[in-house]
């Protein structure tokens, strides 16, 4: 850990990332008001949410400064998403009755 003497302030970088996150959040609201089909809006909003989350993880939570921890988190996240994907498709199978219903 850096001591008080070694510490270099990153306030400028934080403010820049904060401003970018606010702009992306505003874009999500614009998409919501502009309408469009459900899947199209969902995919656009989720892409923006992932970018926001990545910025927060990298710069607010300092993962950009620790590559080992970054890979650890990325691999875990991908594993969870893949596991969810399995559950998601299974849930659809339950709702449609397949493979039991005729």
């Amino acid at each position: 850990m850096a001591t008080a003497q070694e510490h270099r302030s990153n306030v400028g970088r934080y403010v820049t990332v904060y401003a970018v996150i606010l702009v992306i959040a505003a874009l999500q609201f614009v998409i919501a008001y502009s309408g469009g089909s459900g899947p199209q809006m969902l995919s656009r909003m989720l892409i923006l949410a992932v970018i926001e989350a990545a910025l927060a993880l990298l710069y607010f939570m300092h993962l950009a400064d620790n590559r080992g921890l970054l890979w650890f988190v990325v691999i875990f996240t991908v594993f969870v998403l893949l596991a969810m994907q399995y559950g998601w498709t299974d849930a659809f199978r339950l709702s449609s009755g397949v493979p039991w219903a005729k």
Binding site: A25, F29, L42, A49, N66, V73, V80, F92
Partner: protein, 205 residues
């Protein structure tokens, strides 16, 4: 310095290096965040499934001004948390405490706005089990997801005040404040997914 830290310092050459060069307390917080992410991901995926599989899903939100203000407050609170940690790292205790308490205050404002929004929806007849617009699943999923998030915000406000005061008293250091900050950023990060899925996609046009 605690007895454990003195012992650790004396025998540091014998100790196993921490994983990813991250101190144990910080690693524990990261593991908690990963586990909690899975909880929220499970809730949001289940919500997506319910929404997709239910024909008469309501879109009750006429205005999203309130949620826009809440988003602004929560993202701003992440920035103020960073100012606090920056102050702590540079050894400026007063600055660190001031910004940490400002962060807690912003969290409290967020919680008040959230509860006000809940009360307005309850006034319109929405509960966990029924609502005047469509499937009752909407109320259960809305209150469950936003309630779980609100619980995290409330816990975070209490933690920020407790850690901030103990930091001022000298019992906690800048690293403890940074670890609490990680939790607070995570709460902000979850909100980035809750807003589009739960609010923006349910905006009435």
């Amino acid at each position: 310095m605690s007895q454990a830290e003195i012992t650790m310092a004396g025998h540091s050459h014998l100790m196993e290096k921490p994983a990813f060069s991250v101190p144990a307390k910080k690693m524990a917080m990261w593991l908690f965040i990963i586990a909690d992410s899975a909880t929220f991901a499970g809730c949001l995926v289940a919500y997506g499934f319910l929404r997709n599989a239910t024909a008469n899903w309501p879109r009750p939100f006429h205005s999203i001004t309130n949620v826009a203000i809440m988003t602004f407050i929560l993202v701003t609170s992440s920035l103020t948390m960073l100012f606090g940690i920056d102050g702590a790292k540079s050894g400026d205790k007063a600055k660190a405490l001031r910004w940490t308490l400002i962060t807690a205050a912003l969290g409290a404002v967020f919680a008040v706005l959230h509860i006000r929004e809940w009360l307005a929806l309850i006034d319109e007849g929405m509960t966990l089990f029924k609502n005047p617009w469509g499937t009752s699943l909407f109320g259960s999923s809305f209150f469950s997801i936003t309630g779980l998030h609100l619980l995290h915000v409330t816990g975070g406000v209490v933690a920020l005040i407790a850690v901030g005061l103990r930091y001022r008293g000298g019992r906690y250091n800048a690293d403890d404040l940074e670890i609490t900050g990680l939790y607070w950023h995570f709460v902000d990060l979850v909100w980035m997914f809750v807003v589009p899925l739960v609010y923006l996609l349910n905006l009435s046009h």
